[in-house]
Symmetry: C2
Subunit: 336 residues, 2 copies
């Protein structure tokens, strides 16, 4: 393309032209039937399939340009749409096997944007190690704001691990990042000038745009005998309260164990003046795994024990840190 030509838009190309751009970037070879017919088709090895869906909407889940001045690449939107869904399958102890993607775009969106988006999807699948995941199909349509809905299918080789299985006496442990994406969001939203960031701050901002769920750790935890598991998408306190409520237990975290995660966020805290422990307790979207294991379990080494499951002292499940109650005051609700 010469610089004199206006950039091609999805409105210029139409559905067929967009598909001809996207599909070669996505690997559908492992599908029984990939994109192009009325539905895709996928082999299932076991007698059960897992399904999860998540949507990313412009200005709700990402901003094309953050207040810090950082531009949010289409690549990152593609990446995150895969990451958060394969995380849900991982959190059941499963492996992702197939996905369909629905993309709604303004007609003025450039073809380059769409390519970058598809590359982010392909690269997330490769880099996160979702090697059994194949793209089965999708939908394309027009909208005024960018919206991406990804549905992922998966299977469990070791039985599915629910939120409801935690027992008093279990250890509670985390794999993957904790607080990084929350710190990244604050840096993107409130820090003035992305150009002045050092490498440590850039890495933290990137954790918001390009989260890295610990794939493989879900099946390993299931195989090791985890009682309960979920991914941390809305913050440690809010999500652990859900796990505690589902299981009819309480959870007490160990501040010293959490401090290790907070310390890693010091560069962002220095920039914004925040207490990094707030990100560890309340930051969402790292898609780390929260799992409980019975005493004596050989817990997979990538998990860090951060507390214990206890019996409820009253009728309600509680979450505490060193015995002091915490609530999800800054947890995330899409509508509040």
């Amino acid at each position: 393309m010469t610089s004199n030509q206006p950039e091609a838009t999805v409105g210029d190309l139409g559905e067929q032209g967009i598909l001809e751009t996207i599909l070669p970037l996505l690997d559908s070879r492992k599908a029984n039937l990939g994109p192009g017919d009325d539905a895709g088709a996928l082999s299932v090895k076991s007698s059960e399939v897992l399904v999860s869906v998540d949507t990313l909407v412009e200005n709700q889940d990402f901003k094309l340009v953050w207040p810090s001045g950082l531009e949010h690449r289409a690549y990152d939107i593609g990446w995150k749409s895969i990451a958060q869904n394969v995380s849900d399958i991982n959190a059941m102890g499963g492996t992702s096997t197939g996905a369909v993607i629905s993309l709604s775009l303004p007609a003025s969106t450039s073809l380059e944007w769409v390519k970058d988006f598809a590359q982010g999807i392909a690269e997330a699948i490769n880099s996160l190690g979702a090697t059994e995941l194949t793209i089965l199909g999708g939908d394309l349509g027009k909208s005024t704001e960018i919206s991406v809905t990804t549905t992922v299918l998966g299977e469990c080789a070791h039985g599915k691990i629910l939120r409801s299985g935690a027992k008093p006496g279990d250890s509670i442990a985390v794999a993957g990042r904790l607080g990084d994406a929350g710190a990244g969001l604050e840096v993107l939203e409130h820090s003035r000038d992305a150009n002045t960031w050092n490498r440590a701050v850039r890495r933290i901002a990137e954790a918001q745009c390009r989260p890295v769920p610990p794939l493989g750790s879900g099946p390993r935890a299931a195989e090791a005998g985890a009682h309960a598991m979920m991914d941390i998408s809305d913050g440690l306190v809010r999500d652990s309260a859900r796990l505690a409520k589902s299981s009819g237990v309480s959870i007490d975290f160990n501040r010293q164990a959490l401090q290790t995660f907070a310390t890693r966020l010091t560069p962002a805290a220095q920039l914004t003046g925040a207490d990094p422990m707030d990100w560890v307790l309340h930051g969402g979207e790292d898609f780390g795994l929260l799992a409980t294991f019975p005493a004596g379990t050989e817990i997979p080494e990538e998990f860090t024990v951060i507390g214990a499951v206890t019996a409820r002292s009253g009728r309600r499940s509680q979450v505490s840190v060193d015995g002091k109650l915490v609530t999800a005051n800054s947890g995330f609700d899409h509508f509040n």
Copy 2:
């Protein structure tokens, strides 16, 4: 609710409150694991699962108030989001078994709207006869325009029927409506006053808002030995051209057979001055089935033979009516 109280909105309720309203309206009892954990889980009887996804966006796929003055109910949006997806599974010769639904809404949306939407989903599942379909989960989020993405899973008992299997000498037949939804769209868009419509016109407008894919006819066609099948979502000519191209054949329709469908649309044509045959040839979103059957097949009785599959006369697949070429000039492209 008294008339003095402002109507509750989804912003007032938050995610949890919305879910508590929606979930009791949807039947998830047949799921191995329904909404509430990281992923849903569904039993699979065969070794293959089918997947299809479609999105409906405000002002693209529906208008909350049509130019005719007719209000588009949330119920109809829920209905159509199910109908168009179960149609894709039907078009493979399959039966829909599970669905996940992602709903993006402005915070100002009323709780009543959300209830009506969920009732439309539940009623579509019942009325269309998708009796094996269960809701496995979903996602809720904020947006400036209403957007619904539904993903449906299914299975084939008689093998899946692709678009690519048509052979010269096959009969081509249609089950379900043809042109009704296209006529309905024109009535909704261009007719002046919905209050003046007679019952026949109302029925045609309703075909756009509440399509009725002929579920069951897909598996029956597969069992009868259909060579190729697809649903008609973008218009008979456009979709049959896709089938012809996939199969490397041409298709010739019989005008007299199509006339039967056009005649039914006379009440709408009288209102708008259109030629009803244009709706039959180019109208989309009826989600009728287009199938080809080899000579001698006992074609299921709900199918009407409307033409024949022929060998290509040149290098390109062609679609004709009584031997005269037709093209999808008024077919639908989301981006054009």
